[in-house]
Amino acid sequence: MAYAAVSGGREAIEESIKLLEYYKSGTDKDIETEAVENKLSLLVDRVMSEAGLYAKTYAALALKQCEGAPEEAVFLLRAYRSTLARNYYTRPADTENMRIVRRISAAFKDISGGQILGATYDYTHRLIRFDIDREHPAALQRHMRELLAAQKPEKLAPCPRVSDELKKEGLIDNCSQSDEAPHDVTVHMTKFPATRSARLQTLSRADSGFISGLAYSALRGFGQVHPTVGELRCGYVELCVPYLFDENESICIGEILITEAECFNDAGDRDCLKLAVGYGAVFGRNENKAIAMAVIDRELDAGGRYPAQNEEFVLMHGDSLEMNGFISHLKLPHYVTFQSKLDAVRKSRGPKDV
């Protein structure tokens, strides 16, 4: 009989994994984890951001383990994260004290503290460099180190937020500081309407592609159309946790690299206009995701009839793990439910077809 059920699973799975290992073995050249971590940093950043776990080496290991598929790497990191107990919540980190490596504003030419172009692909020509294959990595690194060593360190001027100036002028609403404990989306189900902390966490962990597409839809007319990037900054933020033996003291546990964005929109304010801010912050260097997040944050505040303005639509469908998990489950057998569906279809067609 030619019918082959998807069963006798154990052997089939073992052979499938063997074939996967064969595909992965690819060539006799190895990709060192250290190289992935340091030379595919933007990919590592994206994976850490979508996984919600800041662990560069583990992200690199995960990428190596899964042939470089971001969603698989996110999956590995998230699953690993489930095995760790959450021991601390950090104190709120004030990003005004960020050790800035890049900072720009599309709203004002001159901003207090100055614009710092930093490293960006924005002004490169996207031409494939065919000679990159002949690079000598050690010599290249030495050369770059020498260039760095020749630089004279300059002290960074304090960089207050661009939005602070506008708040002083009364053009942006001044929100009171909230010390409410954030809702932790990794241990509690999000309820709707969602708290702001739940919204920001969910957006920050969202799939980069999903959130960019959604923000794009808002820019194209399915939303408020074209906000202004008030400020985009990227840099290192120090994280502190409460000291175990004295709650008033903090211990610094290290610093993380983040990208932060603020976008301005105009908004109605009784009989006049004001500016409203959307906020985005993500792990690593990922500017488009941070900006997209800020766009969506503002769209959700505004509300409306478009997908990007619908809180449940936005917050429930952007998680890489969840979307890819559910889509891939369609490959599982559905014999029983399909049989039931067939039964319903046949019955509705009357006795002659049953």
């Binding site: 009989m1 030619a2 019918y3 059920a5 998807v6 069963s7 006798g8 699973g9 154990r10 089939a12 799975i13 999956f75 590995l76 998230r78 699953a79 994260r81 489930s82 095995t83 760790l84 107990a85 932790d184 990794t186 241990v187 509690h188 189900m189 309820k191 709707f192 309407p193 449940e312 429930m316 793990l321 969840e322 890819n324 998990g325 559910f326 889509i327 891939s328 489950h329 599982l332 057998p333 559905h334 014999y335 029983v336 439910t337 049989q339 039931s340 569906k341 067939l342 039964d343 319903a344 279809v345 019955k347 509705s348």
Partner: protein, 279 residues
């Protein structure tokens, strides 16, 4: 067993939280209890709600059975068993009577389960009202107000249009006279098994972060009108080609050579048991 990981993978705090949610679910039959669903090494949407329940409940003395579409041997069932085996070392079985803990997808075993047994069902979409209302914020209120009119209306409309209730699997039912519940994508054929059973039914939805339960001896009534009774799938005049059973849920298959339509028990362990008794 992987010694790098805790017994049953999750940390003890997470397991306790899942058990607390399960207890609440038992206390309010049919109510969907939100919980902080953890990510697992298994695909989200591949039974992670059920697996988290299993991991939170399992102890070294348990005997575990995992089925998918009624089969102990299907790839997904094997894969879940393999994962739980890696982090617990508990004994597994295909025998539905012998298992203390049964995790299942899309079926309830043919034999009635006894007290002392827990059936864990994997749930993709826990919300029975989702087919009529996409917003969680609204469906929560509908449950609180017991406002189930839109579902009744849908049943009525399908009767008017097709002269039959066209809802297939995931057929909604009322639990203990209050909450409307999605029994998970089991066929309508299995719905009556939920009613006043001796065992505990736990439902886990990992992606949707919900746990709910049908405790033993609870009234579970599939939706039906007074004059149009609930109608499960039926297989009149058909029987299993292997064991001859005519009272089980059957999988339909085709012989590729003859084109003949054949039927076979979907519950493979039951089918084997019947054949054992016959031989």
């Amino acid at each position: 067993m992987y010694s790098d990981y805790n017994f049953a993978f999750l940390d003890e705090g997470s397991k306790r939280e899942i058990r607390r949610a399960s207890l609440k679910a038992v206390a309010i039959p049919g109510y969907q209890v939100p919980f902080g669903s953890r990510e697992l090494p298994i695909g989200r949407g591949w039974g992670t709600g059920g697996i988290q329940l299993t991991l939170s409940l399992i102890g070294p003395d348990d005997v575990l059975k995992v089925i998918d579409q009624g089969s102990d041997e299907s790839v997904n069932a094997v894969n879940i068993k393999k994962f739980i085996g890696l982090c617990t070392d508990v004994r597994t079985t295909a025998n539905s009577r012998e298992a203390t803990l049964i995790q299942t997808r899309h079926r309830i075993p043919e034999i009635p389960l006894s007290d002392g047994q827990i059936l864990v069902l994997q749930v993709p979409i826990p919300e029975p009202l989702r087919i009529v209302e996409p917003r969680e914020e609204v469906t929560k209120k509908m449950h609180a107000e017991k406002d189930y009119a839109p579902i009744w209306l849908q049943l009525y409309e399908s009767l008017v249009k097709y002269k039959k209730v066209t809802l297939a699997s995931e057929y909604p039912c009322m639990v203990a006279g209050h909450y409307m519940m999605n029994p998970s994508p089991i066929p309508k054929f299995d719905n009556p098994k939920l009613h006043k059973a001796d065992c505990l039914y736990l439902f886990g939805a990992g992606r949707e972060k919900k746990i709910y339960a049908v405790p033993p001896h609870t009234e579970v009534v599939s939706l039906a009108f007074d004059d149009i009774p609930f109608e499960p799938e039926h297989f009149e005049g058909k029987k299993c080609r292997l064991c001859g059973s005519a009272d089980t849920y059957l999988d339909e298959m085709f012989d590729a050579l003859t084109g003949e339509k054949l039927y076979q028990c979907s519950d493979t362990s039951y089918c084997k048991e019947v054949r054992g008794a016959c031989v």
